[in-house]
Symmetry: D2
Subunit: 133 residues, 4 copies
């Protein structure tokens, strides 16, 4: 494939937006990746005690990135997102890891599933994306 | 209602994550808001000519924020996102405006629709969110 | 286009599943259609007073059909569904009409929005589908 | 819980719409169920060779039913669907089995994941639903 699995972490960091959020790939296999997002003040939803959880938009960004790279790790080239869905299950108050895997990579589209967990392994959000192959 | 429409632009800016992305509310009515996201280098998907479009995660964040505030502008208090969906229609190469309106605000959940357009009025993405009321 | 707008109502009825549910096209324009589903005992969710509303699966079927035909009415040929989403807003206790329009028909995919209303014009459900063009 | 796992197959059959489609529960555990849909002429998308696959609306109905019952099997009482999403991966030309499990059952909403496979174990569609608890 055109993109080597070893190159994926570096490829992810080439995106200015991924760097803005501090995203890093911590694992890559065929059709499966894990991406980490730090717990940072500027990713929080609110500015008081009640708002000290990670903003849903940051979590959606993490899911889009991880799903995208799971498909890249399956098909070997960059793929644009067609659509994205996120279900928020619990507020997140720490570093997050998104584990993504391609469920199907067909000739025209691919679908990836993404689980987002916190440091204690609690499921924070689940996502699903469709990508153009 | 507990949140005044005139206070919504300031309320939006209290979120560190909204400030990180540069989101600003430019219009607020009952159940309807418009939120703007600047075109900035650190919101781009890639670091070369082919990647000079706004990252899908930033667009998802804009949609989450706008949908959320449309519901806040309908019910008068802050509401957490239950789930979020985004359809990407065209690459975005400029400032974006998300126009959101609450389609239904029931006793337990509310649903908001969001259209994201660019400076020329082209539809860039459409989103839908469910929020807990 | 290969499919004439006047032929769409007949084309819809050629599907055995559409006939099973009693779906009928009552309006067709470029990229826009309206499809009606009768209120029938065998489309109900339950068998007692509490369950006398239309099953969510029947409403999802109506939305899939209407969205699909809105895209057919835009591009002129049959298109398979890539993905479908439905938000249920109110229980339905009568005949339903799905009004669908293509929001975007690109080279590889099209997106359609569908509003489902009852006889009093109340919004019962909203749907969105992505179709392969 | 108010609904006994042994009663779930009978409870499913009480829905007129489930009987119309021929749905049957073939397995039930805590937060997990399997539901089967027969391959029948009146569930097909088209009336010619090209259309001899199961209509997407029937698959969406199967997913709604299975997801709903996975949550019922987790919380012990009937739950209305808030929203539903379906990704179609392959055309289906035989009997289908939907395997559903509750990913999270919180105080206000529950989320269930559904995999639909055919007789050869191929993944035909995946779905996700949010239900009001």
């Amino acid at each position: 494939m055109a993109v080597d699995l070893n190159d994926l972490p570096g490829f992810l960091r080439r995106s200015p937006y991924h760097r803005l959020l501090g995203l890093e790939m911590i694992k890559a296999g065929t059709g499966e990746v894990a991406v980490r997002m730090p717990f940072r003040e500027d990713l929080l939803a609110g500015d008081d005690a009640a708002g000290r959880y990670v903003h849903g938009g940051a979590i959606a960004s993490l899911i889009d990135c991880a799903g995208d790279f799971a498909v890249i790790a399956a098909v070997g080239y960059d793929v644009p997102t067609i659509d994205l869905r996120v279900d928020y299950l619990r507020p997140a108050t720490g570093e997050l890891t998104a584990t993504a895997r391609a469920r199907r990579a067909g000739r025209s589209v691919a679908v990836a599933d993404v689980d987002v967990t916190d440091g204690e392994g609690r499921l924070i959000a689940i996502g699903r994306g469709v990508f153009k192959t």
